[in-house]
């Protein structure tokens, strides 16, 4: 069990992700679902960034451009891995862009249906399709 103790950062990220996922699945208000999605997204980003951490390392910013100094730095200064940082920067910005698009969809749904609760939207859709088929049925029976 003690060998798994070094993984607790990852497990904490997974725990946060579970809370976000729960908000997405179980809540009915669409804006709440998007907030849950934000939490999920931050947790996943944190998981990736945690993998890039080197114990005793520092932020990947060089102190001097001098090549000899860089060679010296490489021996006594340890940098955390910059690659997850770069990838997650992109993920954050793209995440906010998709967030904005999702919120505009919610605003549109609210204007069309008069509600932003998922189950009420589905019920309205169902009622509309039932009314449609009933209308078709009555037209058919008129024709015959």
């Amino acid at each position: 069990m003690s060998s798994y103790l070094g993984l607790w950062h990852y497990h904490a990220c997974i725990l946060l992700m579970m809370v976000g996922l729960f908000a997405v699945i179980s809540r009915q208000h669409l804006v709440k679902k998007i907030l849950g999605l934000t939490i999920t997204q931050v947790s996943v980003i944190m998981f990736f960034v945690a993998m890039g951490k080197v114990r005793g390392g520092t932020a990947p910013i060089l102190e001097t451009m001098n090549h000899d100094a860089v060679a010296r730095q490489a021996q006594d200064v340890v940098f955390s891995n910059p690659i997850p940082h770069v990838l997650m920067l992109t993920a954050i910005v793209v995440g906010v862009a998709t967030n904005a698009l999702a919120l505009s969809f919610v605003v549109r749904i609210k204007e069309s249906y008069g509600t932003a609760e998922e189950d009420e939207v589905l019920a309205a859709d169902h009622a509309a399709s039932v009314a449609e088929s009933a209308k078709e049925h009555s037209l058919e029976s008129e024709a015959t």
């Binding site: 798994y4 070094g6 993984l7 950062h9 990852y10 997974i14 725990l15 946060l16 992700m17 579970m18 809370v19 996922l21 729960f22 699945i25 179980s26 009915q28 208000h29 804006v31 709440k32 907030l35 849950g36 934000t38 931050v42 980003i45 944190m46 993998m51 890039g52 114990r55 005793g56 390392g57 520092t58 932020a59 990947p60 910013i61 060089l62 451009m65 860089v70 490489a74 340890v78 940098f79 955390s80 891995n81 910059p82 997850p84 940082h85 770069v86 997650m88 920067l89 992109t90 954050i92 910005v93 906010v96 998709t98 698009l101 919120l103 505009s104 919610v106 605003v107 549109r108 189950d119």
Partner: protein, 175 residues
């Protein structure tokens, strides 16, 4: 000594996330989401990801909150009370168990001998000195993987286009 601070931040994040999931007042929930982003930015600094931290603080806690508050002003801020279901709990528990099982053979947090630290990252750090850009993240973002950043700006452009079309259309229909 940094482990207690990280544990404290993770605990606060968990409390904030649970509050977001529970709150029925959506204005409060979106403010809690902003707090969540800000706390996570603090954690990013502890994980040496300073660039990710200030992007998260500016974009996640700032812009995203403004967007969700704007959307709430148009959709109404109360969430109707629904009874709890068992099914979401089961799905979330299964997903979490599977993910935790997947981490069990990963290298430990902060392990310098992990595979991802031995390839590519040393080259990028060296190349950053050659290109005379102090911040290695900037070097990778703008130079080595500049086309990724170009693709990102295209995605953002598409999203903005989508938002404009969506809201313009709805305004035209309303009149």
């Amino acid at each position: 000594m940094d482990v207690p601070i990280e544990a404290l931040l993770f605990f606060l994040l968990l409390v904030t996330a649970l509050t977001v999931a529970r709150l029925r007042d959506l204005y409060a929930a979106s403010m809690m989401t902003a707090i969540f982003s800000l706390l996570s930015a603090g954690l990013f600094v502890l994980m040496d990801a300073v660039d990710v931290a200030f992007t998260e603080a500016a974009v996640g806690a700032g812009v995203a909150t403004v967007l969700s508050l704007g959307a709430l002003s148009l959709t109404g801020s109360r969430e109707a009370k629904k009874r709890a279901q068992v099914f979401p709990f089961v799905v979330v528990a299964l997903t979490g168990a599977a993910l935790i099982y997947g981490t069990l053979d990963m290298p430990h947090y902060g392990d310098a001998s992990a595979v991802i630290h031995s390839h590519l990252a040393p080259d990028f750090i060296e190349g950053s000195a050659e290109l005379e850009i102090p911040n290695v993240v900037t070097t990778v973002l703008a130079s080595y993987r500049g086309y990724d950043t170009f693709g990102e700006s295209f995605v953002v452009f598409t999203a903005v286009l989508g938002v404009i079309l969506m809201l313009y259309r709805s305004k035209k229909d309303a009149s």
